[in-house]
């Protein structure tokens, strides 16, 4: 069962990649079928899980011994439990919807087959990531999604910007992978095992330093994959990929892998206060940074990307709060998966309607031309800013509450983040669908085909009711409790003032945005005379510039210096040595001047020398 979940999309990818042009005609349907059947297998697994008691819901599958060297024994084993199944359903569900959406979105691309193959590959890798029963196999999925992400970001390879963005994403992710490698190594050295169950069981024996180091390493890994500060820079560039990719990989699923990792390794974080604090700090920084970047972007996708960073910041922050937060981190992850995918698909639909223009300043008043998109995007908008009773409200509100309980400063961060979110989302909404039309003459906005709108509608429904469903019908807290543990807040009733305050902050953000962008005309060209803050936000808070200045440029100089050193230094030394010998030989050759007397003289000198040596030795 579990293996089939991964096997089906993997099979799809293999067939499409090896099949080549022969599969062009039906390849995309095949991919959708594979993804969908994986989803159905997931649903079936879920159903059977529901039928069992909470303790028996975990299924371990041992496929074969993967690596066994000395005491390093890694099985190729899968594990499906309450946490995994939530991810499985999100990945395959949203994944299938996005597959369907892509049929329409990529209809005119000559490499559509390859695109679907990569999507299937991604789904398989992501499933492996969440289904592995040990950290080492998780690593395979972890880099597998990185590969799929690389392939998909740089899918339009002829665009240099896309190729560069793909490479950047992979390399930055690799920095995060270093963290995961170190975490696995530390776990092996500390506990002698790398399985989830083994590590969880042994975690209690670990000393504070080891736990702290493992926690930091895992956090580094999470930062890479989830685009958290300071490894956030790749996510904005990743928007070079086709929009479905941004929706699936860079919003709903892959980027949340970091959250999964931290929740999965909760045994470590539970025991290390320091590591948890670090997680919270990183989450808080990213949450504000992402929101800040989102406020100034005119590129609709980059705006959403900033928002994604910010929302994942929420999740990471929640995960860092410990047992009180894990559940809400996952909860927010699930709702975010739905509404953010919906928003991205909506953005894709908008772009589809306006000749692939991504600049919101060229939109405006699209609500008339694209009704379905308007409504679905609107639902997503309401969900993300946290208007009750939409999905985002439930999950975000819980996080804000828990944050305030733990630490007022952290709570304030989340509250401010909520306000800023409301601001930039409203800005996006108004610039796109309201105001006067600002599009070019040759642009004729139109609604997208049904393959695209249907997934959007389904996701919009999820954004609207997913939160309610999960919280009250699914009782997610109880569902996840066996895996993550759950501690209800101690002062549950003491925060009655919080929800109204949050709503007030959100309303303020909406109102300010509406005041700025809704009631006044939006200039088609971005104004150049802006505050330093706006400029910083437009430049992704100078993340790239900092990377460039700290790593890239010195790195290139170092490389160049080393190349010079290698050719001129090492090789030059060797070459110089050879030349020296050659030169000496050429000189020495002159000693062979042809005069027998000269040779005789040398002999005489030699004889004298030998006599001298003999003399010395005898003394």
């Amino acid at each position: 069962m579990t293996a089939a979940l991964i096997g089906l999309p993997l099979f799809g990818a293999t067939v499409l990649l090896l099949g080549g042009r022969r599969t062009n005609a039906w390849g995309h349907y095949f991919a959708v079928a594979m993804s969908a059947s994986s989803f159905f297998v997931g649903v079936a697994t879920f159903m059977s899980m529901l039928g069992r008691s909470a303790e028996d819901r975990t299924i371990e599958t041992h496929l074969f011994d993967w690596i066994a060297v000395g005491s390093f024994q890694v099985p190729f084993g899968l594990q499906i439990d309450q946490l995994s199944i939530a991810f499985v359903l999100l990945i395959t569900g949203v994944g299938t919807l996005i597959h369907i959406y892509s049929i329409g979105y990529m209809a005119h691309d000559e490499n559509r087959r390859k695109f679907f193959a990569y999507l299937n590959l991604f789904v398989a890798a992501m499933l492996l990531l969440v289904l592995a029963n040990n950290y080492f196999l998780l690593y395979v999925g972890w880099e597998g999604v990185g590969l799929a992400s690389y392939l998909l970001i740089s899918f339009w390879q002829h665009k240099p910007s896309a190729a560069v963005a793909g490479k950047k994403a992979f390399v930055v992710n690799r920095v995060g992978d270093v963290g995961l490698s170190l975490a696995v190594m530390l776990m092996f050295v500390t506990f002698g095992t790398v399985t989830f169950s083994g590590v969880s069981a042994a975690a209690g024996n670990g000393d504070a330093t080891s736990l702290k180091l493992i926690g930091f390493a895992l956090l580094l890994a999470a930062c890479g994959k989830s685009a958290q500060f300071p490894l956030q820079s790749w996510l904005l560039d990743a928007m070079e990929g086709p929009t479905p990719v941004s929706a699936l990989i860079h919003a709903a699923t892959m980027v949340t892998a970091g959250v999964y990792l931290i929740v999965r390794a909760h045994a470590i974080f539970d025991l290390s206060e320091t590591a948890r604090t670090a997680v919270v700090v990183i989450g808080a920084i990213t949450l504000l940074l992402g929101a800040f970047i989102g406020t100034a972007k005119d590129d609709i996708k980059k705006g959403l990307a900033g928002s994604t960073m910010s929302q994942i910041g929420y999740m990471i922050l929640a995960a860092g709060l410990g047992p009180v937060g894990y559940v809400f981190a996952i909860f927010h992850l699930l709702t975010h998966g739905m509404f953010k995918a919906g928003l991205f698909l909506g953005a894709g639909s908008v772009m589809h309607g306006v000749n692939d223009d991504v600049n919101m300043r060229h939109y405006g008043a699209l609500r008339g031309a694209m009704k379905i998109t308007y409504v679905t995007f609107g639902l997503g908008f309401l969900a993300i800013i946290g208007i009750p009773p939409f999905a985002g409200f439930w999950s975000k509100d819980e996080i804000i509450k828990v944050a305030f309980e733990q630490n007022t400063l952290v709570g304030l961060c989340t509250l401010v983040g909520a306000g800023v979110t409301a601001f930039y989302m409203t800005r996006m909404m108004t610039m796109t669908f309201f105001g006067e039309a600002r599009w070019e003459k040759d642009v004729h906005p139109h609604e997208s085909p049904s393959t695209m709108t249907i997934p959007m509608i389904i996701l919009a429904v999820g954004s609207a009711f997913g939160g309610l469903l999960l919280l009250f019908v699914g009782d997610i807290e109880a569902w996840l409790e066996p895996v993550t543990g759950f501690a209800t807040s101690t002062e549950a009733g003491g925060m009655a003032w919080l929800m109204p305050t949050t709503l007030l902050v959100i309303a303020a953000g909406v109102a300010y945005a509406w005041n700025t962008y809704g009631r006044r005309p939006v200039p088609v060209v971005a104004p150049a005379e802006v505050s330093l803050l706006t400029r910083a936000a437009r430049n992704d808070a100078y993340g790239d510039a900092i990377n460039e200045a700290i790593f890239m440029r010195p790195g290139l100089h170092l490389t160049r210096a080393l190349v010079w050193f290698d050719t001129k230094g090492i090789d030059g030394f060797i070459g110089g040595f050879a030349a020296l010998i050659g030169g000496l030989s050429a000189r020495g050759r002159k000693l062979q001047n042809g005069y027998a007397r000269s040779y005789a003289l040398t002999m005489l000198g030699g004889a004298a020398l030998i006599a001298f040596v003999l003399y010395l030795v005898r003394l």
């Binding site: 990649l17 074969f64 011994d65 993967w66 690596i67 066994a68 060297v69 000395g70 005491s71 390093f72 024994q73 099985p75 080492f136 690593y139 395979v140 880099e143 597998g144 690389y150 740089s154 390879q157 002829h158 240099p160 896309a162 190729a163 560069v164 793909g166 490479k167 992979f170 390399v171 690799r174 992978d177 270093v178 490698s181 170190l182 696995v184 190594m185 530390l186 092996f188 050295v189 500390t190 506990f191 002698g192 095992t193 790398v194 399985t195 169950s197 083994g198 069981a201 042994a202 024996n205 000393d207 080891s210 790195g555 290139l556 170092l558 490389t559 080393l562 190349v563 290698d566 090492i570």
Partner: protein, 510 residues
């Protein structure tokens, strides 16, 4: 006699190909291919029939050669050597197919000469891995240089004579130091045992004082470090690899250089255990430098072949690192890495060779947009590259991680440094791919770079298949390596450290 037979097959083949009339070029190729395939099958059969419950040397055969000096023709393989031989013999038919027209394209030398040299090289490669007499090993170690010298010097690119001479001189200088140590070892054995010997098994039991060990160790190590190649003895490799034909480069970097690391694992550790421990910290530092230096230099290269060569310097750093931390994961990882590196670097050299033969240039800047004109070729380049950067799912990942984890349990600082090396690996591979395969193809690329053809595909697909298969089922190879590794650990008297806070009572972890 099985190993001697295995060597005789290509030897007879080489002579037969050489004796063919020069005009019968196709026949020469076919004979060479057939012979190499037979050899590969026989080698695989041998490797699979190894007893994987014992780390002892198997298929032992011994015939007196120069009894006066205790030199004998003695052969034998353990799991590591067996797999290396299998890897080498698998690569040979593939590079023959890949280099089907290399001899003609070089415009010099005869076709039959080219293929006879490759087969002759194969003989030496088998011999050097199978020898269990140190003198015999030395003989193969040196004789092996000659076919390569001619393969580079005769069939190589513009700078071929420079590269061939540099290669030869470096290797010879290294070999000279080894010879000195070898003679020293003989003298020591004569003094200790009463009768001098070069026999590996006898020498492993030799009790030498630490000072002697240290001195003799250095001679061997220098030869192996030049061969492997470690920074700062590496500069011959980029030149040689860039000037040779792709097939030769594959054998050179994929197999020949392994002799260095194989020598370390086979001879240095068991014969000089004390010296190995003594020098390990320095060598680990050198290995870390190699990892970084190779990777950074690879980033700075403008020539694809040189880039791969420098990436190999980096990979050899990993291999050496794994050997000298002495942990079972490190040793097994290094042994496995040798095999994987042969495949992944071979694939890269071949595919870059395909590109270069089309475009007539190895310069990265001469390419761009290949994925648009030749998507499969670009895809093959990407897969080979991913294998080189140790993507999980590929065999090189397993070995690289084993090395890292083996290092981590012994030396955290080195492991941390080496781990950062994997980021650089991602950078140089993907940057090369970006510059070669993506973007809009230029006029020249459009007109010259055609899609990969069947012959080329046949040559490279088995390598890629092996990489992926071993990545998913590494145990298929590791089970042969493990017993040899545990024997090695006995020689150097090292026991793997136990986990600091393991939950052993849980019984979890298998």
């Amino acid at each position: 006699m099985q190993l001697t037979t295995l060597m005789l097959i290509p030897l007879v083949g080489a002579i037969a190909v050489f004796l063919l009339p020069a005009a019968k070029e196709t026949l020469a190729k076919q004979v060479a291919l057939a012979v190499s395939i037979v050899t590969a099958i026989d080698a695989i059969r041998l490797a699979l029939s190894l007893d994987n419950s014992s780390g002892a040397i198997q298929f032992v055969e011994k015939h007196e050669w120069i009894p006066a000096f205790g030199i004998s023709w003695s052969l034998g393989i353990d799991g590591i050597a067996g797999l290396l031989i299998a890897m080498a013999t698998i690569l040979v038919p593939l590079i023959i197919v890949a280099g089907w027209w290399d001899a003609e394209n070089s415009g010099r030398g005869t076709v039959k000469g080219f293929f006879a040299l490759i087969l002759a090289l194969e003989v030496c490669m088998i011999g050097v891995f199978a020898a269990t007499d140190l003198f015999l090993f030395y003989v193969f170690f040196e004789v092996m240089l000659l076919p390569v010298y001619f393969l580079i010097g005769r069939f190589g690119g513009a700078q071929r004579s420079y590269a061939a001479m540099k290669f030869l001189l470096y290797s010879l200088v290294g070999g000279l130091f080894m010879l000195a140590s070898l003679i020293g070892l003989y003298v020591v054995s004569a003094r200790t045992l009463g009768q001098g010997t070069f026999d590996f098994v006898t020498l492993t039991g030799l009790h030498m004082d630490a000072g002697t060990q240290k001195t003799l160790f250095l001679g061997f190590f220098f030869a192996f470090a030049v061969k492997a190649p470690m920074v700062p003895f590496h500069t011959w490799l980029p030149d040689a690899a860039a000037e040779a034909t792709p097939g030769t480069s594959t054998l050179l970097v994929g197999v020949l250089d392994k002799v260095g690391t194989f020598g370390m694992i086979r001879y240095l550790l068991p014969i000089f255990p004390d010296a190995s421990h003594y020098y390990a910290p320095i060598i680990i530092v050198l290995a870390c430098i190699s990892i970084f230096y190779g990777a950074l230099l690879a980033i700075g290269q403008t020539d694809m072949m040189r880039l791969i060569a420098f990436s190999s310097v980096s990979h050899f750093g990993f291999i050496v690192l794994g050997i000298f931390v002495f942990s079972s994961q490190g040793l097994a990882g290094s042994s496995f890495y040798m095999i994987n590196h042969g495949f992944s670097t071979g694939a890269l050299f071949l595919v870059v060779g395909y590109l270069a033969s089309r475009r007539g240039s190895k310069k990265i800047s001469d390419f761009g947009g290949v994925s648009k004109v030749a998507p499969v070729l670009a895809g093959v380049l990407l897969i080979s590259g991913l294998s080189s950067l140790a993507l999980p799912g590929m065999s090189s990942f397993v070995s690289e991680f084993l090395v890292l984890i083996g290092t981590f349990s012994e030396n955290r600082v080195a492991a941390n440094i080496a781990t950062v090396g994997i980021v650089l690996a991602a950078f140089y591979i993907l940057w090369m791919y970006q510059r070669v395969a993506t973007g809009e193809p230029s006029e020249e690329v459009n007109s010259t770079v055609s899609e990969i053809n069947k012959r080329e595909l046949v040559a490279i697909v088995p390598i890629l298949a092996a990489i992926i298969a071993l990545g998913i089922f590494p145990q298929a190879a590791l089970k042969y390596i493990n017993p040899a590794v545990s024997d090695l650990q006995k020689y150097v008297s090292v026991v793997d450290p136990t986990p600091a806070f393991g939950a052993l009572t849980e019984g979890i972890g298998s």
